[in-house]
């Protein structure tokens, strides 16, 4: 059966800020929903369905999508909440269009981590009998991941700090993230231990934000866009819950998700023009790049320093700006922009992208997309 093709034809995002103190969730959401239609010849009336990503625990509200439906433009449309990183919402939207059931999907993801204690978002994820009482949660998992990775590949904290600096610099250049100052390697190393050997700035910085994308069927794509960005492959995979039970030194679920996406895309080698990947820390960003096949094991940090073929995280990625539930969808939005308006990024003629989103303590679950123009 030949599945219908699905394309991204528009995206909109508010500036990602450590704190959007003057706005509620619905203000951020309605801003991106209003904006995503501008200039492309589609309106909210053309939207068949909405899929959204958000978290009750971050929002401080049960069934939080229920109170935001109007801002999402979902009134009297089909809507579904995926309580997972936004890339999974895009995945749901894509299969719905590919099945022929709908033509135009609005995908939304948002979070305001500034409104709560984000540690609790993660600590409430670990099971409550063995892990939560002993204080094991995302920070501990991240610290141990770092301990192992640095030891396995004879890398130093300074190597990780260089990755952080590069990403912050790219985010500052990109301009869709609020950045007051780009840290130096010394700044990163001196930013205080948070999960030894990781320092504060080696972990992704949580920010408030919202992002919306329009996914459309092939017919609509060719009508509205000169350069639709096609989703050619999708894969996702979840690892074991207990971090201590997962294969050490590797992100097995990321490898599996990537393999599934590449297979669907028919890629026999992994040489995308651009990559936008998520990460919980500088260490896991390196591990993700390796799991995606963009770098050999232990060489992820080297890749950050010199782009070889694939332009990695031109947006800065998640290290400078991690809006938690929206991170993967921001990656999709950024990759879409890089493929559809490469000149803004100083890219020649990029033809493909890998996009990655993740969730859970120690990045338990991963989602990978391949895009092509």
């Amino acid at each position: 059966m030949k599945a219908n093709k699905v394309a991204v034809v528009s995206s909109a995002q508010v500036e990602l800020r450590p704190r959007w103190g003057g706005a509620q969730h619905i203000d951020l959401i309605s801003a991106v929903v209003s904006s995503v239609f501008k200039g492309i010849g589609l309106t909210l009336d053309d939207v068949d369905f909405i899929i959204d990503s958000g978290s009750d625990v971050l929002d401080g509200r049960s069934i939080s999508n229920c109170g935001f439906l109007g801002a999402m433009g979902a009134h009297h449309k089909e809507e579904s909440r995926v309580e997972e990183d936004g890339l999974w919402a895009a995945s749901y939207g894509a299969v719905k269009i590919a099945s022929g059931a709908a033509d135009v999907g609005l995908i939304i993801a948002y979070s305001k981590p500034s409104e709560s204690n984000v540690n609790e978002f993660y600590s409430t994820q670990v099971e409550p009998f063995y892990q939560r009482p002993v204080g094991f949660e995302h920070l501990a998992a991240s610290g141990i991941q770092a301990q192992r990775y640095l030891a396995d590949h004879a890398l130093s904290k300074e190597d990780m700090a260089k990755v952080v600096v590069k990403r912050w610099q790219d985010a500052a250049n990109n301009g869709r993230v609020q950045i007051d100052a780009v840290p130096t390697v010394e700044d990163v190393l001196a930013s205080g231990d948070i999960a030894k050997p990781l320092t504060q700035q080696m972990m992704s910085r949580k920010v408030d934000g919202a992002v919306a994308l329009l996914l459309v069927s092939e017919d609509i794509a060719r009508r509205v866009s000169k350069k639709p960005v096609w989703i050619t492959g999708m894969g996702d995979s979840i690892d074991r819950h207990a971090f201590s039970s997962r294969a050490s030194g590797t992100l097995e679920a990321c490898e599996r998700a990537a393999a599934a996406a590449y297979k669907k895309a028919g890629w026999t080698e992994v040489k995308p023009s651009v990559a936008e990947v998520s990460a919980s820390s500088a260490v896991t960003e390196c591990m993700v790049l390796e799991a995606l096949g963009l770098a050999a094991k232990g060489k992820g940090a080297k890749l950050a320093e010199q782009n070889s073929g694939t332009a990695i995280n031109l947006s800065g990625g998640a290290l400078p700006a991690d809006p938690i539930m929206a991170t993967g969808l921001v990656r999709l939005s950024e990759a879409y922009r890089q493929l559809s308006t490469p000149e803004i990024y100083g890219l020649e003629s990029p033809t493909s992208a890998v996009v990655h989103g993740a969730g859970g303590v120690g990045m338990q679950t991963h989602c990978v997309f391949t895009l092509e123009v």
Partner: protein, 313 residues
């Protein structure tokens, strides 16, 4: 990127709220057995029948094979440190109890981060005071350099498994008001005015609470407009039971009221002197006219309205 409403900037302290509630969690067979025995200073694991794998602490499902059939075993209190880190929650290590096929996390006691090495032998430290139904009956693990390698053995005379673990969450939030709610509550607090924004349908109806876009059309809402303090009950019910977190003592009338000038409803209470169920049913119905009665409070919330009273027709 946000459009600006036609109002002045208001610097409001965020609204503090919390999600705090009690729980009675069910640990299941494996954790239930572990939690029961850890109070007796015994460490319990699962030995899975099909795969032969051992997990300490006990698990219902083998994380390696997915197997669900297991026997409970007693594990030694010694093991090996396989990884460690230090966070705000302490010095946390992964411990592989002798005989177990998986690691588990716990606190490392009596040592500093720089003292530790992967491969160190460790030994459980029991809590001085019993901790109800908790893995914290093991206070943590300490370095034990020459600890001999222990053996797992079948669990003899298991204690009755724990069926309920008391738990609670207390999540705190600070919600930004944003420009719309900010102005609305500012007016309520300081001027006792109830204001919404015009629904973008050409009528003079107001959105209450106000927001940037219309919920139905997603068009930008209009300018600010004041609504009356009188209105009509659209729906009501009589609350006659108690629940955790309830603010008012039952029985009382719950009402969804459309203030004159608003197009949306708000939830509040209608107060009846000499309350009886029959009186409430007879006097408060869809269509009943009511008026807001303000309390002395000026907190900048709907609570500043004490209740609604019936307007005699």
């Amino acid at each position: 990127m946000l459009a600006r409403p036609d109002t002045y900037a208001i610097d409001m302290e965020p609204l503090k709220s919390s999600l705090a509630m009690p729980y009675t969690l069910t640990p299941g067979r494996a954790a239930g057995a572990f939690l029961a025995e850890v109070a007796n200073r015994r460490i319990v694991g699962s030995k899975f029948k099909n795969s032969g794998k051992v997990t300490v602490p006990a698990q219902d499902f083998c994380p390696i094979s997915g197997d669900a059939e297991f026997d409970l075993i007693e594990a030694p209190a010694t093991g090996t440190l396989t990884a460690f880190t230090e966070t705000q929650f302490g010095l946390i290590g992964l411990v592989r109890i002798d005989g177990s096929d998986v690691d588990f996390p716990h606190q490392i006691l009596g040592a500093r981060y720089d003292d530790l090495n992967i491969g160190d032998r460790v030994e459980a430290v029991w809590s001085d005071e019993p901790v109800e139904t908790s893995i914290l009956n093991i206070a943590g693990f300490k370095l034990s350099p020459n600890a001999p390698v222990g053996q797992i053995k079948p669990l003899e005379n298991p204690a009755e498994q724990v069926e309920v673990v008391k738990y609670a969450i207390d999540l705190k939030y600070e919600h930004a008001f944003g420009p719309y709610y900010g102005r609305m509550f500012d007016e309520i607090k300081n001027n006792r005015r109830i204001m919404g924004v015009r629904v973008p349908d050409g009528s003079e109806s107001a959105y209450l609470p106000p927001r940037e876009t219309c919920d139905i059309t997603h068009k930008q809402t209009g300018t600010w407009v004041e609504v009356a303090h009188t209105g009509t009950v659209r729906a009501m019910s009589i609350i006659n039971f108690e629940f955790v977190g309830q603010k008012k003592k039952p029985p009382y009338v719950y009402a969804e009221i459309k203030l004159d000038g608003a197009s949306t409803r708000l939830i509040h209470n209608v107060y009846l002197p000499d309350f009886t169920m029959e009186k409430a049913k007879a006097m408060v119905k869809p269509g009943t006219r009511v008026r807001a009665v303000w309390s002395d409070k000026r907190t900048g919330s709907m609570d500043d309205i004490s209740h609604f009273e019936i307007i005699d027709q």
